[in-house]
């Protein structure tokens, strides 16, 4: 059974249709990326998946007892609320000292454990949020614009980390991104959204689909090819090999 399935889901807000007859499913172990222009309903779709919104028509089915790890794009924490990164990990479930230390270490933010969440940069906060999401051993990991504010090398490193997470936990991963070329290379399946599902499938398929080109133009086509090439290497030669390529392409595209 799918982790999450949306069937024929429509939703309007303030009289304006936001999503129309959206049908999609996310399976265990796959990385799915949601792309779409601003206002295309990406955030609304995420809210439907986590259950924060109910559809007007259609159904959202979650696997029973589904554990969701959610990493928002940004988390606004009131400065009046004292919250260290370490303490943040223990919400909503308490986490032991060793486990917390390991999670922060893995996310590369062990040195920030005692810092206040409000003092962290956007990227640092997102790493702490990822550590928190992974501690819950999610079956479905949801990342909203995870690479915004990262340079291309940072983004590439982030996607390698996501790939490792998938292999370790076997979880399904749902990404939302603007960051088309890097994202697509790291993805099994791309869903292009613009109020409805315009097109869907393997990255190469979507990138060449007329619906996608109508939305995003053909400008990213070249860069996508480069990154796809890098990604193939990643699967054949392991992560060390991919790393070198990543830097070359990153410089070339930037």
């Amino acid at each position: 059974m799918s982790l999450v399935a949306l069937r024929d889901v429509s939703l309007a807000r303030g009289g304006q249709p936001v999503l129309e007859r959206v049908t999609l499913a996310i399976e265990a172990g796959e990385i799915v990326t949601l792309v779409g222009p601003n206002g295309s309903g990406k955030t609304t779709l995420l809210k439907l998946v986590i259950g924060a919104l109910k559809p007007d028509t259609g159904v959202v089915e979650r696997a029973p007892g589904l554990r969701i790890g959610y990493v928002p794009q940004k988390l606004h924490i009131e400065p009046a609320l004292p919250m260290t990164a370490r303490r943040f990990l223990s919400l909503p479930a308490p986490v032991g000292r060793a486990e917390a230390a390991a999670a922060l270490e893995e996310a590369g933010v062990a040195h920030l454990a005692a810092r206040q969440m409000t003092e962290l940069s956007g990227g640092q906060a997102q790493r702490v949020m990822l550590a928190r999401a992974l501690i819950g051993r999610p079956q479905l990991l949801i990342l909203d614009e995870p690479t915004q504010g990262l340079d291309q090398q940072g983004a590439a490193a982030f996607y390698r980390q996501i790939e490792t997470v998938r292999q370790r936990l076997g979880c399904g991963i749902l990404l939302v991104s603007h960051d088309l070329h890097v994202v697509m290379a790291a993805t099994d399946r791309v869903i292009c959204l613009n109020g409805h599902v315009c097109c869907e499938g393997a990255p190469e398929h979507v990138a060449s689909a007329p619906e996608y080109r109508a939305l995003f133009g053909t400008g990213t086509g070249g860069a996508l090819a480069l990154y796809r090439h890098e990604h193939d290497h990643g699967h054949e030669g392991g992560h060390g090999g991919a790393h070198g390529h990543m830097h070359e392409h990153g410089d070339g595209a930037a």
Binding site: G51, A80, P82, P92
Partner: protein, 260 residues
Amino acid sequence: MLDSFLMRAALAGLGVALVTAPLGCFVVWRRMAYFGHATAHASVLGVALGLALSISVVWGALAVALVMGGLVAWLGRRGHSSDAAIGVISHAALAFGLVAVALTPGLRGDLTAWLFGDILAVTRGDLAVIWGSAAAVVALLAWRWRRLLTATLGDDLARAAGIDPRREELVLVLALAVVVAVALKVVGALLISALLVIPAAAARPLARTPEAMAAVAAAIGVTSALGGLWVAFLLDTPAGPSIVCLSSVIFAVTSFVPRR
């Protein structure tokens, strides 16, 4: 020892301070300060209703505070600018309350007691109500502590963890209504929100975690309550305002501490 009115006053202040501290932290964290204010104002209407219907004033205040809290939460969820909505409801409830009190025979003279509290007139029965309710609210907050904190961090974060943020908000509304109804007699309608907000705000610079902030707020609240009573006794000043004055002085002092 409960025979001494001062001892009863001290125990009442202690009980109220211990429960307003953790609840006040949520009021500060969730920017509900005005919300507490509105609930407290509305409780004056509850006092009038309680007296008019010859039921306990605490029940009247509790009922009105609950309706008020629910109404404001509902308006907020419907996307009304809660600032303006709460402002209107808060002042309307206070004004209707004052008019209702004026229309209730034999109550005019007692009005200041409900606005500013009369901690020196606390009876043994009041003490039982205050401590019983305080214990219940503290237990409620402790039981749902992590869920409340997660919901405070964000609706979506809570939803993804299987927590309904609206339910947690209702828990806080309920707790706030109970505390307002119970604290009414001690510090009065106008000073309750001060007792919710000031100790928590004063504790912020001294704390690094939510739990530490609640504990420090409790310590500051207790110090203010007992110290304020002592000052009131020494200088023959009104007890409720003296307690709030002292907590404000502590706030002024801790605000010079750099945040940790």
